[in-house]
Symmetry: C2
Subunit: 203 residues, 2 copies
Amino acid sequence: MAEEKQDAEIKIKEAARRVFLAQGYEGTKMRQIAEAAGVNLAMINYYFRSKEQLFNSIYAETFSQFIGQVVQLINESTPLEVKVWKIVDRYCDFLVENPLVPGFILSKQRVDGGEFFKKLDVRGVIENSVFKKQLAEETEKGNIRSTDPLQVITVILGSLVFPIMAQQVVSYVGGLDNKGFREFMEERKQIIPEMIMAYLKVK
Amino acid sequence: MAEEKQDAEIKIKEAARRVFLAQGYEGTKMRQIAEAAGVNLAMINYYFRSKEQLFNSIYAETFSQFIGQVVQLINESTPLEVKVWKIVDRYCDFLVENPLVPGFILSKQRVDGGEFFKKLDVRGVIENSVFKKQLAEETEKGNIRSTDPLQVITVILGSLVFPIMAQQVVSYVGGLDNKGFREFMEERKQIIPEMIMAYLKVK
DNA sequence: GTCTATATCGTGATAGAC
DNA sequence: GTCTATCACGATATAGAC
C-alpha cells in the first residue's frame, strides 16, 4: 500500500507548517498534523524523529524566508529612493500573503546562545549591505542626513509587521472589514516610503 | 495554617502573570505557577476555577494596560507636535520595562466575534480621539498634510513594538549587547517623532 | 513504508483529610 | 484555607505485524 514514492514526507511537512504557524509549538498536537496531512500518526515519527525535530526544520526554513527576503532586497543594485519603495512594496506583499509568519518567528525565544543565528550567518548582514553603503554615499553627497541603517530597516519592518500581527485589534479599533484592512495595507505602501524619505531628506 | 489573609490569591496572580507572559498559555503549566507563587497546586484551583479563567483575567488586565496607555496619551491636551514626542517617549519606556507584553497580547488570536473587544470599548477609540481632531485642525490650517490617524498611530506603535519583540534578532544582526540595545531604543525616541513630523509637514 | 496497539508520562482538576 | 493523594485524560513515542 505504498503511497506514491515518499511524498508523504512532503505532505507531512506542509501540514506541519500550516498547523505550527497557526498554533505554535505547544499549541500543536502531533495528531492534528497527522490528520491535516492525511497520514497515520506513526508516519510522522518515521520520517521525523520527534515533534521537536519536525518543528525545528520548519522554524529554520521559515526564519530564512522571513529574513532572506530582507537581505535580498537591501542588497539589490537600485538607487536608494527606488529601493526604499521596492522594499516596502515587496515585503508588504509578502506579509499580506503570509500573515502568520512574523508571529511564528517572533514567538519562539531562542536562547541557545546565538547558535541558531550563527548557522544562518545573519550577523553583520546590514553592516555589509549595499543599503548601508548607499546611505553613507548619499550622506557624503549631502543629499540626506546621517542615519543608522538598522534604525531605518527596523522602522520599515515594524511599520509593516505590526499591523499584520495586530490585524484583529487594528481592524476592530478602526472599524475595518477584511477589504478595508487590505486597503489599509495598500495605503501603507505609499506612506512608509514617503515617511522614510521625508525623514532622510531633512539635513 | 492560614497564610496572612488571602494574599495567596495575589501571589498566584503575580506569579501567573510572569509565567504566562514568558511562556504563553499552552507553554505554561499549572505546577509552574504554583511553584513560582510558592503555593500548592490545589490552591490555584481553589481561587480560580480553571487555568483558562486564570489566564483570561490576566489577559484582560494586560490588554487594557497595553492599549490603555495609548488611549490616554492620544487624548491628552498637548499640542500636536509635543504630543507625538510624548507618545513615543512614554510608550517606549513602557515597552522597555514590559518587553513581554506585546508578544503576549498579540500571540492570542481572539476569535470570539469581537466580544472581547466590545467589553473593553475600544471601537472608534481613535475616531473619537483628540489626536484625530488635532490632525484635522492642523490640516485645515495648512500646517500639515491630510492623513489617516490610524496609519500614524500604527507606524508609531509598530516602530516601537517590533524591535522589542525581535530584540534577539535585532541585537544579533546589529551586533548589540544589552547596553547597545537600550541605546538603540533611546535613539528611537528621537528618530520616530522626527520621522512622523517630517512626513506630516510635507504638503 | 504503513498500519494497529500500547507503553509511558505529564497534564488539569478534584476529593477529602485537617 | 491549605494540604496530600489521586483520578481521568491526552500527549509523544515506539514496538511489532503486515
